[in-house]
């Protein structure tokens, strides 16, 4: 936004809210990265410490909600400010859910550590890179007020859905060839599902960014205008 609020306090409050959202976004991104590293390296202690870090993320969600509420009460924001604040309130819900999914991934990692490795890891990695990338780009779009970038994120969701759809038959094939891998395969299936859900949340965030920037509600298949 070019101009700033004449009331500097108001401007500061909005900036503070934005920074808290970015902080939460960064923590969530980091968490997903660490969860996937724990998966690749079969690192139990990393998995455990990552799970513990979810508490910070939940804490941030509450802080952000509280600050947003205060601004709404004090300032009665309108137009772009109003869209920014309502977007923030909804966005942090998605981020908090992504944090929970990170915890879920770590829980599966803990279950997998002693098990026989299975050659579906590359499919999982592909899913993880895409979902993580979408999340990063959705958050960048939020910071940069970039509706074009947000639209690009929305388009990638289909690709991720495709990767997930390929994962399941791959795992079924493994399970049919060697029943001993069933335990591992179902755990991988779960991790795949969590990553696909992370991509969905990134898509939600991107839709909200479009609304925040342009005032268009593009959710649920409604086009612009």
């Amino acid at each position: 936004m070019g101009r700033v609020h004449t009331d500097k306090e108001y401007e500061n409050e909005l900036n503070q809210l934005r920074e808290l959202v970015l902080l939460m976004g960064a923590r969530v991104e980091e968490m997903i990265g660490m969860a996937m590293r724990a998966f690749r390296e079969r690192d139990l202690s990393l998995a455990r410490s990552t799970m513990a870090s979810d508490r910070n993320i939940d804490q941030l969600e509450m802080e952000i909600d509280e600050l947003a509420l205060k601004i709404l009460a004090r300032r009665q924001p309108v137009a772009s400010d109003l869209r920014f604040i309502t977007t923030t309130l909804k966005l942090v819900t998605d981020l908090e859910r992504v944090g929970d999914l990170g915890v879920n991934i770590c829980e599966r990692v803990l279950e997998l550590v002693d098990d026989v490795p299975l050659d579906a890891d590359s499919a999982i990695t592909r899913l993880a890179e895409s979902a993580h990338g979408m999340l990063q780009d959705a958050l960048d779009a939020f910071v940069q007020y970039d509706a074009v970038k947000a639209n690009q994120v929305m388009e990638r969701d289909q690709t991720v859905d495709g990767y997930y759809a390929q994962l399941f038959p791959e795992l079924v094939t493994h399970m049919m060839k060697n029943p001993a891998v069933v335990y591992r395969a179902t755990r991988l299936q779960s991790i795949g599902k969590y990553l696909e859900r992370i991509a969905d949340h990134a898509t939600n965030i991107a839709e909200m960014v479009v609304f925040m920037v342009k005032g268009q509600d593009v959710r649920h298949g409604q086009g612009p205008g």
Binding site: M1, R3, T6, D7, Y10, Q76, V78, A79
Partner: protein, 302 residues
């Protein structure tokens, strides 16, 4: 009746929160709960086509104080039986504009206006138009409540008629009706003989509105009607505006944006004598199209 240079009958109807059956074009545009849209052919000077019957329309209106042009060519409708708010910073011309809507502007020595202001099918700036008659159809309420202090409440209500030499067949009924309309009747019915100045600020303002209504105007102009009132009195006047809207076309000038957001169906944003944006109030306050509007309503005054 409405001001249109071309009318196309609506082929589909836009429903609002109050869903109802569509009314037929050309009849009283406000069957309760109906909103339907007729294309008018003339755009506003802010480049937006309006789509509803207009009670009044300013067409390239320019207003001057001496040599200084303060309204710089405004084209804008005033939609029938809607509340239109005019917002904008000090000096943007909003008060001058509404004073042009009832030929009050020229009362100030050295002032004049050019362009036209249609009241239905009549240009109020036409050659043979009597400004006094215009002001009967287009009434005005001012910022500071100004009941005539030496007159009783009852006489205040009747003052407009008497000053215009209009005979009233049943003054008591008229007084009661007008005071009922402004929700003041129950509060003052036993003290109608008391001075108008004995009322509270909010009551005085409602009395002034009743005084306007006694002349049965078609349009009510309100220049910051609540600026001098406390929040409770303000809420009562806003409630009143909400009720009056069914029968009158209302234009309200306000520097309180939240008030515009609360009471108005449509909002016009003026800046330096020009109309910057005109649209439904919801749009102005959630997703305005013009950067200057966005900056003003959010508080980025620069």
């Amino acid at each position: 009746m409405s001001v249109q240079t071309q009318v196309t009958l609506p082929t589909n109807f836009v429903s609002t929160e109050e869903r109802s059956d569509p009314a037929s074009a050309g009849s009283d545009p406000l069957n309760p709960g109906v909103e339907y849209e007729i294309e008018t052919s003339a755009p506003t000077s802010a480049g937006i086509k309006t789509k509803a019957p207009a009670k009044m329309r300013a067409q390239d209106l320019r207003a001057y104080f001496g040599a200084t042009e303060v309204i710089k060519g405004i084209t804008m409708p005033v939609l029938d039986k809607k509340v239109t708010a005019i917002i904008g910073p000090s000096g943007c011309g909003k008060s001058t504009f509404i004073r042009c809507l009832n030929r009050m502007h020229e009362v100030t020595p050295g002032s004049r206006a050019t362009g036209s202001v249609m009241l239905e099918s009549q240009d109020i700036y036409g050659r043979d138009v009597d400004p006094v008659r215009v002001r009967r159809r287009v009434g005005m309420v001012f910022q500071k409540p100004n009941p005539f202090p030496t007159m009783s409440i009852r006489d205040n209500v009747l003052a407009g008629l008497r000053l215009n030499g209009i005979k009233v067949r049943d003054p008591d009924a008229l007084v009661e009706r007008c005071l009922q309309q402004v929700a003041l009747w129950d509060e003052v019915k036993d003290s109608l003989h008391r001075s108008g100045a004995s009322l509270s600020g909010g009551q005085q303002q409602r009395l002034c509105i009743a005084r306007c209504l006694s002349l049965e105007p078609e349009v009510l102009l309100m220049d910051e009607p609540c600026s001098a009132l406390d929040p409770i009195a303000t809420a009562r006047v806003e409630e009143l505006i909400h009720g009056l809207r069914k029968s009158y076309t209302i234009v309200i000038v306000t520097h309180n944006m939240q008030q515009a957001a609360r009471v108005a169906n449509y909002t016009a944003f003026f800046y330096l004598g020009q109309l910057i944006e005109f649209n439904k109030t919801d749009v102005i306050f959630t997703r305005p199209r013009e950067q200057r509007t966005e900056d003003y309503v959010t508080g980025r005054f620069g």
